[in-house]
């Protein structure tokens, strides 16, 4: 029994293209993917493009006014829209500019050229269009991408874990960074990444986004109890989590 291949397309907005590269790499490590899907557009890897895609994977955050129109066009065509990676999901590292006014950020980045740029604050794509599923992370996890494709082929929407990073971290017997007095956002961050950063001794940056049910204040208190400062905590938040932490946005 052979299934018709699902028609998919990849689109990119403001981001580093690392999630697309992860997809590209996954196509090489798992060539069976190409038996399962037909790629109609993927600027990162091919110059041909064709309309008629059913599933759109969108990488990157929305920063330019013209991005909005492009996003709406994709939404009008695709049956299913999947946010691919932290930038599309929670505005990613781009959201770091939320710690200051957009004008100030533009001035720091572009200097004298600032008047030639009309960037706005970075926004996740679900601020513009409805999104059916999310593949979080910076970059995405290749196994999660494979699982998501399989679920889409089965006719269901991809599910992502709602457990904190700590779960996989403990199962792998990594040494807890918080217990060693270091900064780690693991307890409030969505797992599913294999706790890859703590596994290599680096505290979680929160790239997969904050869990809906978590103890934000509790973690902040623990940072302080560990001898870290409030600034340390806010620095961690500003990397990936400012979109989900409205109270910390635009500080004087």
């Amino acid at each position: 029994m052979t299934h018709p291949r699902a028609k998919i397309a990849f689109f990119d907005f403001a981001g580093c293209e690392g999630c697309q590269l992860t997809v590209l790499d996954t196509l090489q490590t798992h060539p069976e993917l190409l038996q399962a899907v037909e790629i109609l557009e993927f600027r990162e890897s091919m110059s041909e493009r064709e309309d008629g895609y059913e599933i759109a994977f969108i990488e990157g955050s929305c920063v330019w006014p013209m991005d909005e129109e492009r996003l709406r066009k994709i939404r009008a065509q695709a049956k299913i829209v999947v946010a691919l990676g932290a930038c599309a999901h929670i505005a990613g590292v781009n959201s770091i500019r939320r710690s200051m006014s957009p004008e100030k950020a533009a001035e720091i980045v572009y200097g004298r050229e600032v008047q030639n740029y009309v960037t706005k604050s970075a926004r996740p794509i679900d601020a513009i269009i409805p999104v059916d599923a999310v593949l979080p992370g910076c970059p995405i996890d290749r196994h999660e991408f494979l699982r998501a494709v399989s679920m889409l082929l089965q006719g269901t929407l991809p599910q992502i874990p709602s457990d904190p990073v700590c779960v996989e971290c403990r199962l792998d017997e990594n040494r807890c960074l918080l217990l060693r007095g270091q900064a780690c956002m693991g307890p409030i961050t969505r797992g599913g990444c294999g706790a890859i950063c703590p596994a290599f001794g680096v505290g979680c940056e929160g790239c997969r986004g904050m869990l809906a049910d978590m103890n934000f204040e509790g973690l902040r208190e623990q940072f302080l109890a560990n001898g870290l400062s409030l600034a340390d905590f806010e620095r961690r938040i500003s990397m990936f989590l400012s979109e989900q932490t409205p109270t910390l946005q635009v500080r004087a």
Binding site: E32, A36, L146, S150, D163, P164, R170, R175, D213, M214
Partner: protein
């Protein structure tokens, strides 16, 4: 006599011989901590270890375990159970963990027998290790009655300095001993050494429950509505660490995963945690333990009362792993003792009121 003596210098050879026939899972130094791991040729077990992040439970109930493989060819589907077939030796199990394995044996054989667990358990011989010092400042095994070894080992070793005293707990243990170990019979002097080690050890375990462990279930019932749960719920990060490192926790989640060819897949089980927000989420979207304090209370109820009542074995073996793992310092003994203190105060208040 049943007591044998194994010279420590003969252990490496015995382990090597065992390794040719069995998969050996033993405490091993790994990146600054001791973890239970499969020994590879040339590896030496860390027989002096104190504690490990995960308990040896993981050798019998792996954190992630494939249960079923699915394969579909030419329209025909086949489901194959995945069963471990390699005999194993679990070496260096401390007494608290052995008590916990005794609980798991009950849990996975009574009611709905779990063939994956039972199969692996049947293939695994246990060589346990007498505890002469507390594992950590958090261990309160003595209070929980788990500092004395239960009779579920195949062989049990007690450190006598240059030798191990070896007790034989089963026929399988006896076979292991004859086939793989170089030993001698214990003499009067060895018995004296063993008695000395055993009588001296108890006074080293001072961290303790303020009540008798048999009073715990009652204490937990009395304090079901205590405000302590809500207070601890404010601190708790719901990270699940306490469950995941616990030797008596046995909840798991089952996940199916189909490959992108839609022809093959696996069913996997993964250790679960009742501290995670989605644990008590049921169909329809209702979550019957939405508050962190409620989840925390549930765990303490399991440890102090429910498991004891259901399985007639302690739900907490006092290993101290959860206290060590908790990033916000929630310690089971503190919780039990605080409840006990509150209860004592209440009864004293009552007494005063009556007088």
């Amino acid at each position: 006599m049943l007591l044998k003596i194994l010279s420590k210098s003969d252990l490496p050879d015995a382990v090597e011989r065992l390794g040719q026939r069995y998969r050996i899972i033993a405490p091993m130094l790994h990146e600054g901590q001791t973890v239970f791991k499969e020994l590879l040729p040339g590896d030496a077990p860390d027989m002096e270890y104190r504690t490990t992040p995960l308990p040896p439970k993981k050798a019998l109930l792996p954190p992630r375990e494939e249960l079923i493989q699915l394969q579909s060819t030419n329209g025909e589907s086949r489901l194959e159970p995945v069963l471990d077939v390699q005999p194993a030796v679990l070496l260096g199990v401390h007494t608290c963990d052995l008590h916990a394995i005794g609980l798991l044996d009950k849990v996975f054989t009574e009611g709905v027998p779990d063939q994956h667990y039972i199969n692996r358990r049947r293939l695994t011989k246990i060589i346990s290790l007498e505890c002469l010092e507390p594992c950590s400042e958090h261990s309160f095994c003595k209070s929980m009655g788990t500092l004395a070894v239960p009779e579920s080992f195949d062989l049990h070793l007690t450190d006598l300095g240059s030798d191990y005293a070896v007790e034989i707990g089963s026929k399988a243990g006896l076979n292991l001993l004859w086939k793989f170990f170089t030993i001698r019979d214990a003499g009067d002097d060895d018995y004296a050494r063993l008695n000395k080690a055993m009588s001296e050890k108890w006074s080293r375990f001072n961290y303790r429950l303020d009540i008798d462990a048999t009073e715990l279930p009652g204490l937990m019932s009395l304090n079901y509505a205590d405000e302590l749960w809500e207070e601890l719920g404010q601190q708790c990060l719901s990270c699940g660490a306490c469950n995941l490192v616990c030797p008596t926790c046995f909840c798991f989640d089952v996940q199916d995963e189909i490959d992108v060819d839609l022809r093959s897949g696996v069913r996997t089980r993964v250790w679960d945690s009742c501290q995670l927000a989605r644990f008590a989420l049921v169909a329809g979207g209702h979550n019957f333990r939405i508050r962190r304090g409620d989840r925390l209370r549930h765990r303490f109820m399991r440890k102090g009362k429910y498991i004891q009542e259901m399985y007639d074995r302690p739900g907490c073996v006092g290993c101290g792993r959860c206290a060590q793992a908790c990033p916000v310092d929630i310690k089971p003994l503190d919780v039990f003792n605080r409840l006990a203190a509150g209860h004592v105060n209440q009864s004293e208040m009552k007494k005063e009121a009556i007088v």
